[in-house]
Symmetry: C2
């Protein structure tokens, strides 16, 4: 069978500081047969897919780090010279696995290229509902959605009427946590990095209040203004000085779900957090979590979220870059906050 | 009725940096009638006690801070010119409260003086068991004992065979957490600040291992040596750089009970903790707690601990300073680690 070109985004070298487009290389040098080989062992349970949407996620910055630091025991870093990997939505072109057949739509871990052979099938979910945008399976119906759902409901133990603060609130996860909190009857404030995002939080995403952290020079005072009674629940996406200011404003028996700390990922040495004694004074429960521990709840989550989407009770903002060649810029933009909503890369039409 | 002299330790002025003996004033200028007045409203439910033992506790440093910072909302600072207050063991000389009568032995919050009129009776417990040293009610049978019991069992969710690390391990709380963990079948390592303390941890307190942190220049490496498999449970008494090194050595789903951060109390600006992303990588549960939330468990704790004491399964190291006049030195010594075991001040013989 003839081979076709397979455009790819190659990871060039381990990154220090802010990732740049030049840390990746868009190329069409590779080619691939659009049929799985019949005889190879390794491919005996593989699926061959055409990638439709790729997801830009903050964790990808962590995977760009040189192996050897603390993180590499938990996240296998990218291999220089190979394509990036990440979550995506794809169509099955060929399958040696009985769970998937040609024509199936799937979401899960794939590679930054037009066509991928996926052998690690544990993370691959068959898409059953196609009356919603397929790109949603990189966001509200995928990993970020599950992260928001599990992080808020399982880690934060929220109650109606509680005061909830969300940083990076217009991002893939934050925008959902805020809407879930509002549906439960909480008071919800979010922070984001531009006026446009702040306006969207209030006008589209149903947040009670929102502020642009770049215009606030004393976050402690800002939080006191928005939360005169203090914060019951903080959904932490940012870390560093943000966390320090929040600790000062938490209420007794408050809960902090640590989802990520995007402000720290590009730093060689993270900022020190100095107000941890607040954990004792206020008996605060702070818990790190990763969505990987909660995927067993995915069917339950779909039952919850699909009606919300269909009935318009939850909306989802996406920022879709067109074409794999624009993937590196989209991914880099995530760390300067250029995206408005979930950053997706559209690779191919269905 | 004639008045008697009432020796006192007066708090002189708010403290910055390390507390000094000269921050307190031992005086016999005051006098007191050893009978409650019949007619005064305020004393209508009070008890008059003779203080026998006073407790030196790390939290007392926090109460010496100038009001206005974050802590003063949770701990009412000492008033300059008044005696220190704190936990103690006392004998009731007179009572206007039906729960206490002359001759009763009690423990709870009292003042640093020979005789006290106690009007806040919520914290006062009648002592029912006197076959154990009375001073134990400032330690193993009092607030530190409850702190260790609740912090370990309620906050850490310990399981047999887990790896437990305790800082300030020979102190009032740490020595108990270690022994409770050993009784449960955990592997227990403690850190302390002298060879004598390290020897006691291993020889008397049943710890599997112990080390002198002052002789370790790379705490991360030290912890890797003692915990090649990592730490499941950290009982945090110290904070700062200690916590940072522990975070690097925690296991997945580890638990950190934050009891206190004594290394930070004398600092104007706490040390920054930089490794909090470990909370996410390892899905760590970090919880601050104060014993005040757990005193309802005190009867259950007594049922557990009294047989342990009587049968010698748990021992308790005390460092008893003789005489109220030596109280300031004993209290100050707590912050330089001069005490070996629970620091108590013996005020008067029973």
């Amino acid at each position: 069978m003839a081979e076709v070109k397979n455009k790819q985004v190659i990871f060039k070298e381990y990154v220090e500081g802010s990732p740049k487009e030049s840390d990746m290389n868009f190329t069409d040098a590779a080619s691939i047969k659009l049929k799985l080989p019949d005889d190879e062992d390794e491919a005996s349970k593989a699926v061959l897919v055409k990638n439709l949407y790729l997801s830009c996620d903050p964790v990808m910055r962590i995977l760009m780090r040189k192996p050897g630091d603390e993180t590499s025991a938990y996240f296998t870093p990218y291999a220089p010279g190979s394509p990036l990997s990440g979550y995506g939505v794809a169509k099955v072109l060929d399958s040696r696995n009985s769970n998937f057949k040609e024509g199936d739509l799937v979401w899960g871990t794939t590679k930054w290229e037009e066509y991928s052979v996926i052998t690690a099938l544990e993370s691959l979910h068959k898409i059953q509902h196609t009356d919603v945008p397929l790109s949603y399976y990189t966001g509200i119906l995928g990993m970020p959605g599950m992260t928001a759902y599990a992080g808020f409901n399982e880690v934060c133990s929220p109650k109606k009427g509680e005061y909830v603060f969300i940083s990076a609130a217009s991002g893939a996860v934050g925008q959902l946590v805020g809407q879930f909190a509002k549906l439960l009857g909480c008071y919800v404030v979010g922070s984001a990095g531009s006026k446009e995002k702040v306006d969207l939080l209030k006008s589209k995403l149903n947040f009670d209040e929102a502020f642009n952290y770049k215009e606030e020079h004393d976050l402690n005072a800002t939080l006191k203004r928005y939360f005169p009674e203090g914060i019951d629940i903080y959904f932490e996406n940012v870390g560093g000085k943000f966390l320090d200011a929040v600790l000062l404003n938490m209420r007794v028996h408050g809960r902090i779900a640590v989802c990520g700390m995007i402000s720290q990922y590009n730093l060689d040495q993270p900022e020190g957090v100095t107000n941890l004694m607040c954990l004792v004074y206020k008996r605060i429960h702070m818990q790190g979590f990763t969505v990987r521990d909660y995927f067993h709840l995915y069917p339950k989550y779909l039952d919850y979220i699909l009606p919300c989407i269909r009935e318009g009770r939850v909306v989802y903002l996406e920022d879709i870059a067109q074409g794999l060649e624009n993937g590196p810029a989209a991914l880099v933009g995530l760390f300067s906050g250029r995206n408005v909503g979930k950053q997706v890369v559209s690779v191919s039409q269905f």
